[in-house]
């Protein structure tokens, strides 16, 4: 079982999904994305196979858990627990597929706990940081 945080209409839901096959070797296998499937249960407008455009970042989202958007390796963690951050501040720099991606604070707040450190390999949906 795998835990995922799914956001629907600005609200976050914690869902558990069971991944039946985890060892696909061939890329001709049909497109099978666990995360969007999970949202189908909750969302009236289920995403098609092609990803939809992202909604403008919801200002003032009050979720307390920040998760990794994709699989990758954390290469920088420029913040520490107890620190106060503003919306848009870089909390993590993630490297995936040779690209660097800044994971920014979704809102203003104080960091309660940082659950991953530089050098860690993280998976999409994995908890990285908890706001106070």
């Amino acid at each position: 079982m795998k835990k995922l945080i799914v956001t629907v209409g600005g609200k976050k839901y914690e869902v558990e999904v069971e991944i039946l096959e985890d060892t696909d070797k061939s890329y001709t296998t049909a497109y099978r994305a666990p995360a969007p499937r999970a949202t189908e249960t909750y969302s009236p407008a289920a995403p098609a196979a092609r990803p939809k455009a992202a909604a403008a970042p919801a200002a003032g989202t009050n979720s307390s858990v920040l998760t990794s958007p994709i699989n990758g390796v954390l290469i920088e963690v420029p913040v520490t627990a107890g620190q106060t951050v503003s919306e848009g501040d870089t909390l993590f720099v993630l490297e995936a597929m040779k690209m660097k991606t800044n994971i920014a604070a979704p809102r203003d707040g104080t960091i309660k706990e940082i659950k991953a450190s530089a050098g860690d390999t993280v998976e999409s949906g994995q908890e990285l940081l908890i706001f106070a």
């Binding site: 296998t29 092609r50 848009g88 690209m99």
Partner: protein, 493 residues
């Protein structure tokens, strides 16, 4: 003014970059360099591109020493051509003007006679500093057009770009078809229009990845282009370049004096097969099956038939020549071509990179969805050509869009750099909504990208124990940690 075509050999730079991951060592090259020179080539591509990176990262070699050794063997640098990525020099991001000037100056002094300068986005402002520096320090500046296909990349677009390069003062022009995307009927039109606007020497650099590069070379010879990039078997064909063993025969049948010593080329070929064996672990499986090719093996009947079609100079005849040339190459044992790109718009190299990267993160099941997403992302990015580094940036962004399940919810820093204009002006405007959202408070750059970069050469580097010379410093400033690792090992510090 009439033009006669001459052949350039690129085996010892792009030949092994295309077929052996740029792993040919200076020692291996020196086994054939003197012979290659003696064979009668008037120009040899020997340096630049990925060579510097490969030297310090994999071969534990000083790239400056490599260049200086070549210059010594050739008795001067006039014949030595290097490939320069414009303002990006030999890296992947723009460098400051002072570093570009210092690097070009050192390269010319160490042995580069001809600098082929290109920009992946065809932003002419990314070429100006290196063009001026090359000329100022006594080199020949060749401005290269990066060829790609998209709704904005019409023949007229490339002609307008060529005019800008001419206006900027390049000594020569080149058409650089790095992914083998130039379809022969389009090649005919491009060569004719380009020849009509200038008497400057024009080079054709075509890769044979898609099975049309050698035919394009023959069309170029017929249309009076001045130089053709070629390679010697087994570092020819496939993702590399048109084989000289074939093109020399075409030249002879067309009455073009190539001036090459064919016996000597056979000797070089024999030695290159030994080198290919030594490099076997770096050579893709589909490019390992070259067999020795003699000039006499080339089917002259087919050659004459192809020449007759090319001389008609119409698109229907060119179409007819395509399968004939492919047959001729396959008969001689060159790697099978992959022409799916003409429909898929995704270069083969990018495809295999993407495949191995998805495999590494256990996401191969999303490969098809990502491939379908790539053209949309490329459009949003202003139809950037899919070459290093933009191919990787666009491919990864497409992957993020699919993996996250929402477009551009996760945007890589490098993709933001494209949107912001930090690599230069994109061929078409980027998607304004996505750009505004991804950049937030940051503005799209208005001026030449490198004009925002601070100088780097005036800083104090005396505390770096591994930087012992000006040449070391240039490597340190361009390649950062990779160069530092090489230099530290070299000096034991």
């Amino acid at each position: 003014m009439s033009h006669t075509t001459k052949f350039i050999d690129v085996t010892l730079r792009d030949g092994h970059q295309s077929l052996a991951a740029t792993r040919m060592s200076t020692e291996q090259i020196l086994r054939v360099l003197k012979m290659t020179n003696d064979a009668g080539y008037q120009r040899l591509e020997l340096w630049g591109g990925a060579v510097l990176d490969s030297c310090i990262r994999f071969l534990n070699e000083d790239p400056w020493e490599r260049l200086e050794k070549f210059k010594e063997v050739l008795g001067g640098g006039q014949k030595i051509r290097a490939l320069l990525r414009g303002q990006n020099l030999f890296g992947y991001e723009p460098s400051s003007d002072d570093l570009v000037i210092a690097f070009v100056k050192q390269a010319v002094h160490s042995g580069v006679g001809v600098m082929r300068i290109f920009d992946a986005l065809n932003d002419e402002r990314n070429l100006i500093t290196s063009i001026l520096a090359t000329k100022a320090y006594g080199g020949v500046a060749e401005g290269a057009i990066s060829y790609t296909t998209s709704p904005v990349h019409t023949t007229d677009y490339f002609i307008e770009y060529a005019k800008k390069l001419i206006d900027m003062g390049v000594d020569e022009l080149a058409i650089k078809d790095m992914a083998g995307l130039l379809y022969p009927t389009d090649a005919l039109e491009l060569f004719q229009k380009l020849r009509a606007i200038t008497d400057l020497p024009i080079s054709l650099h075509s890769h044979t990845t898609t099975g049309v590069g050698t035919l394009n070379a023959v069309i170029a010879m017929n249309e009076g282009l001045d130089w053709i990039d070629t390679a010697i078997t087994p570092f020819a064909g496939g993702t590399s370049h048109p084989p000289i063993e074939i093109l020399a025969v075409f030249a002879e049948r067309m009455g073009i004096e190539h001036g090459l010593d064919k016996k000597l080329i056979q000797k070089i070929q024999a030695e290159l097969f030994i080198i290919q064996k030594e490099l076997t672990q770096f050579i893709p499986d589909n490019s390992k099956n070259h067999k020795p090719v003699k000039f006499a093996d080339v089917d002259v009947k087919k050659v004459d038939a192809i020449i007759a079609l090319v001389k008609k100079e119409d698109k229907a005849s060119i179409e007819e020549a395509i399968p004939l040339m492919r047959e001729l190459e396959l008969e001689l044992g060159y790697p099978a071509f992959d022409d799916k790109i003409f429909e898929a718009q995704v270069p083969g190299g990018m495809l295999s990179n993407l495949w191995s990267q998805l495999k590494a993160i256990n996401k191969l099941d999303q490969m098809d969805a990502i491939l379908a997403e790539i053209p949309a992302v490329r459009k949003d990015a202003g139809y950037v050509p899919l070459v290093t580094p933009t191919s990787q940036i666009v491919g990864s962004q497409a992957a993020f869009n699919v993996m996250v399940g929402e477009r551009y919810k996760t945007v890589s820093n490098e993709f933001k750099m494209i949107l912001q204009g930090k690599f230069g002006r994109t061929p078409a405007p980027t998607n304004p909504e996505i750009t505004a959202r991804a950049l937030g408070k940051d503005q799209v750059l208005k001026y030449r990208a490198a004009s925002y970069l601070k100088p780097v050469m005036e800083d104090d580097f005396s505390s770096l124990a591994f930087v012992k010379s000006h040449k070391d410093l240039l490597l340190h400033l361009l390649f950062k940690q990779a160069a530092d690792g090489f230099l530290k090992k070299r000096y034991g510090v």
